[in-house]
């Protein structure tokens, strides 16, 4: 019973974080949401009896993805503007 509650809560947290990362206009918040997805996915792999996959996901998802995305945000812009979308619509 407690396993069912745990797995259901983790899956709901994965889906909620993914929707949040797509909808959010601030890209830093989206990167933090990606970190939450990777974190919870590690726990799900772990519960499904695959510790080697969980180990790889932990190494790549936390260290590599977060650092590369943060460096990318530092070199570009943090806030996603919607001017490009409007211009494309006007041009079409």
């Amino acid at each position: 019973m407690i396993y069912l509650i745990l797995i259901l809560f983790l899956l709901v947290l994965i889906i909620g974080s993914a929707i949040y990362a797509v909808v959010q206009r601030d890209l830093l918040y989206a990167v933090i949401a990606t970190g939450v997805i990777s974190l919870v996915l590690t726990a799900v792999f772990y519960i499904l009896q695959a510790p080697d996959v969980a180990l790889t996901e932990a190494a790549i998802g936390v260290a590599l993805t977060t650092i590369i995305f943060i460096i990318t945000i530092r070199n570009t812009v943090r806030y996603e503007s919607d001017n490009d979308k409007k211009n494309k619509i006007k041009k079409l």
């Binding site: 407690i2 509650i5 745990l6 809560f9 947290l13 909620g16 949040y20 601030d26 830093l28 918040y29 990167v31 933090i32 949401a33 970190g35 939450v36 974190l39 919870v40 590690t42 726990a43 772990y46 519960i47 009896q49 510790p51 969980a54 180990l55 932990a58 190494a59 936390v62 260290a63 977060t66 650092i67 943060i70 460096i71 945000i73 530092r74």
Partner: protein, 85 residues
């Protein structure tokens, strides 16, 4: 004896719920970063408890790796918020 472990797992689910609530609602970036760090800590403790329940000693390595690497991710985000990356 095993019921104490299940009660601990229930309290960890409660902590995960409140930390994820702060992650979704938190007004500033610092709140969300600290919520991510709290989620990492609680989930690492949960992985250790699950390793005891499954009775597999090798499962503790995953918790060890995640405890080391989650720290690095939070440090990188904090350095970016400080403006000194």
């Amino acid at each position: 004896m095993i019921y104490i472990i299940y009660i601990a797992l229930g309290f960890m689910i409660l902590g995960l719920f409140f930390a994820s609530f702060r992650f979704i609602k938190g007004p500033t970036a610092g709140d969300r970063m600290v919520a991510l760090d709290t989620l990492t800590t609680i989930l690492v403790a949960g992985l250790v408890v699950l390793a005891y329940i499954f009775q597999r000693f090798i499962y503790l390595d995953v918790a060890l790796v995640y405890a080391v690497l989650g720290f690095i991710g939070v440090i990188v985000i904090a350095r970016y918020l400080e403006g000194a990356l």
